[in-house]
Assembly symmetry: C3
Homo-oligomer: 334 residues x 3
């Protein structure tokens, strides 16, 4: 495996194999599997779970990792192409990325979304510019529109909870947050649930529709796998019979890259905080998922987050297990 | 072993076993003992020795670790309970701590002392709030009133120096420092020396008495183990026949949480800098101990710190060895 | 081996053995060689390649490392001798360095050049002050005038490219940079190429002569090994028949420690940016080397840096391999 970039690159059988391997490694550790192997971890935006879970994953498999972030170079890393570097930054990613990659058997890259133009971000301009510089196996640790490690962990979490694939009702809900956040998690989570064959409802206010090409990609995956995708701004309708609600805030796509426009729309939506009344029409055992970090009392109420519906902690632990499976296959343990 | 939180949780025989194991691991390395095991390290306040010594300890035993500090999350970690998180911090310790713990086989936690109310800090409110969130085995890497890793390392250092348990004379002395520092090291060091059965003198100026309940805890441990505890502000009397002086600055307990009151008391005490004349009435070979970091020329004079009395470097190395013994027992190497 | 501090401490046969070992470890990994061994990494100035390549090297050999930088201590590390520490810094390197060293089987130290007095920096006052504090085996990860890991990697790179030792023509060229940079890389690179027996030309503008004692050291090494050393400010003459140009900016030695004087000299030299026309009189396959980080369009033009002459990425990868050889010999793998 040369890349772990998008669940779309894998068949449902391959995904099932990743999850089976993750479960096996959880039950039967293999501390010799990746002896002496090195994973380079490059973070161009901050991280807690990804940082910790990848380091832990490599240690559990007998290898190791190192972490590089821009603040480790002198005055940061320059990313702009074709620039005369007479400013602060002393190093360009054109050198930093291939050098860092050359020290590892694989590299994990967390890029960032520029969030000026939706087309630009959907084209993954920054992330692909980095991939062009390397030929090492790589893992997408979050790009402008992708977060496959989160997606694989979430799929495993749904399996762990025995939430059915076909017939399972998955609500992806926008939630309030004071800032305009990237689209990586919502768009790739939508695809994940659709590819799993679930009946997916995107619940979001006006102005927060997910980008049409990514909706289409999800609809196609759902159709192929016996599921469905629809969207609504009607909370009650969306939650009807739901097995799970996956909450996440994201930027307005109607005002993408327009901070003020996004803010004006957003400030009237503070009631989009997932709370117990949302679950009235859902299944009694409807679960609450979130990729974390989550703002308490803003994105979700404390009673829901601390209550029995919430699976955010085992969901986060599945990040490590899912990544162990990916690393095991990528670095030759399997 | 589910917790390493306080020497009081262990019998003197169990402590002797830790130290014997530390010595064995120093002489006969076991780089396979903790193959593939992961220690999560969470630092809510800064660290150098603890950070380095735990990482080195896990590597020497064949496992690994990862480090998380609040600055790794976006805008820090929120710690206040019941808060609506509409400010800077994007993550609460209620999620961060159990997630970080879930990636490790054990977790080391360095909390902080709020230092507003002595009762609050003696109740270990912050540290216990974090323990409530996890069921992983844990190590106290310093809480408001505890520092058991330092205590075990110091006990080993006393053993290494052949300083007698019963009959050994241990002076715990307050020293000047421009800032009001936590009570964790002095209170837990007092207990350590008392539990070792030594004759302990707490030498401190007026206003810097250690909290009565912790004095009582130490007196009881001393009585049980053939030692004694007394306190004085008379330097000459305290140092009479001393085997060792353990210097440390700490906050005024008479003005706890009152920065100004502490400062007014403290500013007249700059002569509490351990210097050669202090040792006049001590044993010729009286040793100088300190947990580090130490301010030269402020807490202790350069000639004492750089001279033959000082054992601060081997004392700091014993941190690593003591922690190796704890990790070996906790994570199944033993 | 107790120290890896200067190529001058090793015979050419010993250097060849390091490189042969580096090649062997690249082709035939030894993930058990340094099981449970710890390398302490102390960075008193920032780093990216050195940080990453040493961590990766230890992991590949089955050991591990930990990283300490001054910002990990409270308010930084004090370095001034004999000071009363009543300011911000809470710890002195006199404690920090031996403690950090005591946790490792070896220590790598990156010091800094004070860059006030050339004599002071040539005497390696800061670096030697740290060495005086330890008796652990150590690796110079860059001092005021030395960078032996870079030198060994560069020697290997020249071997990899089949650039002849005797008869090989090596141009060490000054290049423009907005800041006055240390002399460690140019002076130690000069020595490396001379000791390899190459015909070395130092190409630099007036005011940027390398220090006379280090020129003499290089001339002596060249004479011993069948090479030569000369210097010039004539670009065309210097590049005549060159196999390789090694570009690097450095401080004016005529105005050492005089920021303004250096700046006045430097500001007229922005045409010292290595560009394709420089190569007119060189061999067709003349290579471009640089230790990185490099400022694009300032030190070197984009077409040269991105073109077939540039070997900066494999050169940087050789850092890891060269260091693996050093660590393997130092820590008992060999």
């Amino acid at each position: 495996m040369k890349a772990f970039n998008d669940l779309a690159d894998f068949s449902n059988e391959e995904i099932a194999a990743f999850i089976a391997l993750a479960n096996r490694l959880d039950a039967h550790p293999e501390p010799e599997a990746l002896r002496g192997k090195v994973l380079s971890l490059l973070f161009l935006s901050p991280s807690l779970r990804t940082l910790a879970s990848f380091q832990a994953a490599m240690t559990r498999l007998g290898g190791g990792s190192f972490v590089i972030s821009p603040d480790m170079s002198i005055h940061g890393l320059e990313t702009r192409p074709g620039i005369v570097m007479d400013g602060a930054a002393a190093e360009h990613i054109r050198e930093a990325v291939p050098v860092i990659a050359s020290y590892g058997d694989a590299i994990g890259i967390r890029a960032f979304a520029e969030r000026k133009s939706l087309e630009h971000d959907m084209a993954e301009v920054e992330f692909n510019a980095m991939l062009d510089l390397i030929d090492t196996p790589y893992i997408n640790m979050e790009s402008a529109m992708g977060h496959p490690c989160q997606n694989l962990a979430d799929w495993k979490t749904l399996d762990d909870l025995d939430i059915p694939a076909n017939g399972g009702k998955f609500v992806l809900s926008w939630a309030y947050h004071p800032k305009a956040l990237p689209l990586a998690v919502p768009t790739s989570t939508l695809y994940m649930a659709a590819k799993r064959g679930m009946d997916v409802t995107v619940l979001r206010p006006e102005g927060f529709q997910l980008p049409t090409p990514l909706m289409r990609k999800a609809i196609f995956a759902a159709e192929e796998n016996g599921g469905s995708v629809r969207e609504t701004d009607d909370r009650k309708e969306a939650m009807e019979g739901a097995h799970v609600i996956y909450a996440k805030s994201w930027s307005s796509t109607a005002h993408y890259g327009d901070k003020l426009g996004d803010h004006d729309l957003r400030e009237n939506l503070i009631d989009w905080c997932v709370d117990e009344p949302w679950f009235e029409s859902a299944r009694d055992d409807c679960r609450f998922m979130h990729c974390l970090p989550v703002r308490r009392g803003v994105v979700v109420s404390e009673p829901v987050l601390d209550g029995p519906r919430s699976v955010v902690i085992p969901e986060a632990r599945n990040r490590m297990l899912a990544q162990m499976a990916v690393l095991h296959q990528m670095l030759g343990g399997s």
